[in-house]
């Protein structure tokens, strides 16, 4: 468990360094169980920082979302470090970004937070509806402890944790300049059960499952924008010439959009689950990404975001790669 005081002290020290621009962390949100990413620029602000089961956001996304405005002539870009707090999955995103030169190691200061799993807000807000006052939540042994206005509630982990966390194999940061607290035990078995369940169904059943989901997509692009691995300056799926996917929202275009995105994430997705979390119409996008993660692991023994030296899956091959389906 990460000690809050320790966390804030480290943050204060970090932000006091001359070579650090700002620190990206989590703070209590505006109501209930919500948490908001925050950007600490003054040592004083470090008091806002928290680390709890509520800290779902993958802050690595902000390493690449930041716009670079044209600089006035003669002005030098600010290349000071960005300090970022990462959970296990977030840290894999950072590693994968480094592999793909999305970020520069020397421009990062990584604060690792071993993570015992974050909440699925949909589950939680269903369990404790209409709670407006900010709630403190802590990890307990195999359970989650909620400090609700009407008193303390303890809930078994399985009931409220995000699925990605129940499946998590890398709860501890794989890269960090400083790690807060002890490493924690992973309880994911890497068996991709939910994927297998869907695989077991017939093709038509699978199609109607996804057709229903993609049909509900409103193409708000939150899945793409939140994704720490989606950082093309100009997404090919937004392009008008050539137009791969029309702007129209319908089964055909929405399906094409989500399959293209899933494919572009093959061998890159670090399974942080953000796309699924942010989807306003609850499309189970992780079911899609995990399918490819599964194939990539089974066929090529590859898991992204673990080794900064690794060659990207889609820009490499082995002469003896499987090819059982080829005529």
């Amino acid at each position: 468990m990460v000690d809050l005081e320790k966390l804030r002290t480290v943050a204060r020290e970090t932000i006091s360094r001359d070579d650090v621009k700002y620190l990206i962390g989590w703070r209590q949100g505006t109501y209930g169980f919500r948490v908001s990413p925050c950007f600490i620029k003054e040592p004083g602000e470090a008091e806002q920082l928290i680390f709890s089961p509520l800290c779902t956001n993958n802050l690595a996304s902000y390493l690449i979302v930041m716009e670079k405005l044209p600089l006035p002539r003669g002005e030098q870009p600010d290349t000071r470090k960005v300090a970022v707090m990462v959970k296990g999955c977030d840290s894999r995103a950072v590693v994968q970004q480094l592999i793909e030169q999305g970020t520069k190691r020397e421009e990062l200061y990584i604060i690792g937070c071993p993570c015992e799993g974050v909440l699925d807000l949909k589950k939680v807000e269903a369990k404790f509806p209409h709670i407006l006052d900010p709630v403190t939540v802590q990890w307990g042994k195999d359970k989650i402890i909620f400090q609700l206005p009407e008193g303390v509630e303890e809930v078994p982990r399985e009931e409220v944790l995000a699925q990605k966390c129940l499946d998590c194999r890398d709860p501890n940061p794989v890269i960090a300049d400083i790690t807060l607290g002890e490493g924690v035990q992973a309880w994911g078995n890497g068996e991709y059960q939910d994927v297998q369940e869907l695989e077991a169904k017939g093709a038509e059943e699978r199609w109607s499952f996804w057709e229903d989901k993609f049909n509900s997509c409103i193409r708000c692009y939150s899945c793409r924008n939140v994704c720490p691995m989606c950082y093309c300056k100009d997404c090919v799926l937004d392009r008008l010439n050539p137009s791969w996917v029309y702007r129209s929202s319908n089964v055909s275009e929405n399906t094409a959009f989500h399959l293209s995105r899933a494919f572009h994430l093959a061998g890159r997705c670090v399974e942080c689950g953000e796309c699924e979390r942010v989807c306003p119409v609850d499309i189970p996008l992780m079911k899609l990404n995990k399918k490819l993660a599964k194939e990539v692991e089974e066929k090529y023994g590859y898991r992204p975001g673990l080794d900064p030296e690794a060659k990207p899956l889609q820009s490499s091959y082995r002469p003896d790669d499987k090819e059982d389906f080829i005529l």
Partner: protein, 144 residues
């Protein structure tokens, strides 16, 4: 349209050096095969963007074929190795969302395999026939 006379529409991407030449050979040897498959020529199977497959299905293809040189024979040494990886994953993905896996095929056909080209076309067209028409994923005026 009844299954009997249903004529599938297959779009094929062939590499210039092996498979396209193989298809040429089939021609010069006057080997007959179904006319349901139409070829788009690229220099290497490594050029075929996996998103082409989806786009073809969206734009009205009932089946798609990618064909390149046998592993190790690629005119550009490695192109077909990349293609193999990309389309192995794309095939899994399409199958997973319920696109009948018979709609997507891949083959290695060398410049000397005119006869094999015929077999491949027949199999691919047959596959697409069995899979039947594919309106669900089509980009069509139903949505307009």
């Amino acid at each position: 349209m009844s299954e009997q006379q249903y004529e599938p529409n297959v779009v094929a991407f062939l590499c210039n050096w092996c498979s396209y030449a193989g298809a040429d050979l089939a021609g010069t040897s006057r080997i007959q095969y179904p006319s349901n498959l139409n070829i788009i020529r690229v220099m290497c199977s490594g050029r075929v963007n996996p998103l082409f497959v989806m786009n073809a299905l969206q734009q009205g293809a009932d089946g798609v074929l990618i064909s390149g040189c046998h592993p190790g024979d690629c005119h550009y040494m490695e192109g077909n190795f990349y293609a193999r990886r990309r389309f192995t994953l794309m095939k899994e993905l399409l199958d997973y969302v319920g696109v009948d896996s018979r709609r997507f095929n891949m083959s290695w056909v060398s410049a000397s395999e005119g006869a094999k080209w015929k077999d491949v076309v027949e199999e691919v067209v047959e596959n697409a026939k069995e899979a039947g028409p594919f309106e669900q994923f089509r980009r069509n005026k139903i949505n307009w």
